[in-house]
């Protein structure tokens, strides 16, 4: 559904992402792991069509560069890292903006029944229906994160790209978000690719893991087959040892 071939990109200077190739098929959940500055977010931005790049990104069988912004947004949605909001839209209005690419151009009565149904479903899926009339400027970081997830669902894409989606979430909502995304992916013809900070959470969520170091792919495999030595090298830490130590604290 989503593939990158020889993708190279950056911000003018030396490339940040170097010759990356991979493919995600329907039903898969790909987690991109790697230390700070390894090019995870840059790769994600290129996949979302937000960054000029060399190489090809293919979405649902079409070269992404041949699609208009609107056509691309019907296939791919990006949930960005949490950014401050300055304008006091209600939760409902914010989520309904996800329907932008799906709406036909109409000046009046812009929401079709389909739009309203999708917005309501997204709000319920993220537990926000009760908060729908609150201004987004009055929400906590975690609530806002869920609003953006709901907007991503409302966009009704085939591919969801996530940029550290659980950063501001309490444990409970981290679990709910990953479970919600799993359920979303299992509805058929859909896949998720995301950058995760939390290795533990990523390994629990992913059906496949892509490990990056210094802009290049070091491993691309199911989480079970992940080479621990590689992980230790990339993160500069005995990752498994660290996790075990944490576990011991809970077992005492």
């Amino acid at each position: 559904m989503l593939s990158a071939e020889h993708l190279t990109c950056g911000y003018g200077g030396a490339p940040v992402v170097k010759d990356v190739s991979f493919a995600v098929s329907a039903g898969e959940r790909l987690c991109i792991l790697g230390p700070n500055g390894c090019g995870k977010t840059t790769l994600l931005r290129a996949l979302a069509g937000l960054l000029p790049h060399e190489g090809t990104v293919t979405v649902c069988g079409t070269d992404a560069e041949k699609l208009s912004r609107r056509e691309l947004a019907r296939r791919v949605a990006l949930m960005s890292q949490l950014a401050p909001v300055y304008f006091s839209y209600t939760v409902y209005e914010t989520v309904s903006m996800g329907r932008y690419a799906r709406r036909e151009r109409r000046l009046l009565d812009r929401d079709s029944g389909e739009d309203r149904r999708a917005v309501r479903e997204s709000l319920e899926r993220t537990g926000l229906w009760a908060l729908r009339d609150r201004p987004v400027t009055a929400l906590s970081g975690g609530q806002l994160q869920r609003v953006f997830l709901a907007r991503t669902f409302a966009q009704d894409p085939a591919v969801i790209l996530l940029d550290e989606p659980t950063n501001h979430l309490d444990l409970k909502y981290q679990v709910e978000l990953t479970e919600g995304l799993k359920a979303w992916t299992e509805q058929g013809g859909r896949c998720v690719a995301g950058v995760f900070h939390d290795v533990n959470l990523a390994l629990g969520f992913a059906s496949r893991v892509l490990v990056m170091e210094d802009g290049a792919v070091q491993a691309d495999c199911p989480p079970r087959e992940l080479d621990r030595a590689l992980l230790n090298r990339v993160y500069g830490l005995d990752v498994a040892g660290y996790m075990r130590e944490n576990l011991r604290r809970w077992e005492e």
Partner: protein, 337 residues
């Protein structure tokens, strides 16, 4: 919204009736009906009233309303497009460019006679637009994506530079310094119909265009990346909307001079009552900005007769406390825009 429209109508009626000579509202109505529908004038009306209403008060009030509406809409659009609650069309260099154009016309003495009456607004509009084009061109050269910060920074640099050139002109030709200064503070005393005929359609067209792009602006307030990910063709929308704002503000400034503050505060005040969605903020902001400007102009010409206070000072004098009141009176409510 209906309340706001009623307030707008009321303020305009007051604007026409009140002045150095008070004209009864009934007479104003009679004069308008006579002109529009050919009904008879009221018996025993003072003979100079029709000319005062039709040639002086009415065009002035309409011009004030249109200017307020145009500036309020421009401010709304700039704040959303640049995702910056402090942005205003003047930050793009429209006003300083237009000011420089006006100063050049004044200093070269090109403005004498009737030709000058038209030359001044035409040249200042051209300079205002030229400045915005220059800002966008430089911003596009430095940063192909024309990021908000780049546009705001280049706009500020251009504004400061052209302001400096304008001050230099004023210093080098002191005979004209006062006229340049007066122009900069803005005035509706050039109360003529041609200005209304130009600014009226321009404002109406702009409202239609902005209403069409309301969903795009809604998305843009969440930042460039998110707007693009939602499917907005950012570069095209940005150029189109900024261009339209430049034309609209440039036209208004060319006729009445630089009148600050309305463009900045009107969107904030309106969002307080109508929420942030552009399909409501734009028309409500236009009504509010227009009403506010009519009342400010009324104050400008009636508070210290026979002298007139520059309208730019009034908008800030009345606007600043009013803004603080509206913005902070909400108390426990959120402090978003």
């Amino acid at each position: 919204m209906a309340l706001l429209a009623a307030l707008a109508a009321l303020s305009m009626a007051a604007g026409v009736a009140v002045g150095s000579v008070h004209i009864p509202l009934g007479d104003v109505g009679s004069i308008l009906a006579n002109r529009l529908f050919g009904t008879a004038l009221r018996d025993g009306m003072n003979g100079v009233y029709p000319a005062m209403v039709l040639d002086m008060r009415l065009p002035r009030v309409l011009l004030a309303f249109l200017t307020g509406a145009a500036l309020a809409m421009s401010g709304t659009v700039m704040q959303s497009v640049l995702q910056n609650p402090l942005a205003s069309p003047f930050g793009l260099g429209v006003s300083s460019g237009a000011g420089l154009g006006a100063a050049i016309v004044i200093v070269t003495g090109f403005a004498a006679g009737t030709a000058g009456m038209l030359a001044l607004p035409a040249v200042s509009l051209a300079f205002g637009l030229g400045t915005v084009l220059l800002v966008l061109w430089i911003a596009g050269r430095i940063d192909r994506a024309m990021g908000n910060v780049t546009v705001v920074l280049i706009g500020m640099v251009a504004s400061l530079f052209f302001n400096a050139v304008m001050s230099l002109l004023g210093t080098l030709s002191p005979a004209y310094a006062q006229r340049i200064n007066l122009w900069q503070l803005g005035s509706f005393s050039m109360r003529e119909w041609p200005a209304v005929w130009v600014l009226g359609p321009a404002t109406a067209l702009a409202l239609a265009l902005f209403a069409r792009y309301a969903p795009e602006m809604d998305a843009m307030t969440f930042g460039e990346e998110q707007a693009q990910a939602m499917g907005v063709d950012l570069r095209r929308c940005k150029i189109l909307l900024i261009g339209a704002v430049a034309v609209l503000t440039g036209t208004a400034v060319a006729f009445v001079g630089i009148i600050g503050f309305v463009d900045l505060i009107a969107p904030h005040v309106v969002r307080r009552f109508f929420g942030a969605a552009h399909r409501r903020v734009l028309p409500a902001g236009a009504l509010f900005g227009g009403t506010f400007m009519v009342l400010c102009d009324l104050a400008a010409r009636t508070l210290t007769p026979p002298r007139e206070i520059p309208i730019g000072s009034i908008t800030a004098l009345l606007g600043a406390p009013f803004f603080l009141y509206v913005y902070f009176a909400g108390g426990r409510r959120d402090r978003g825009c």
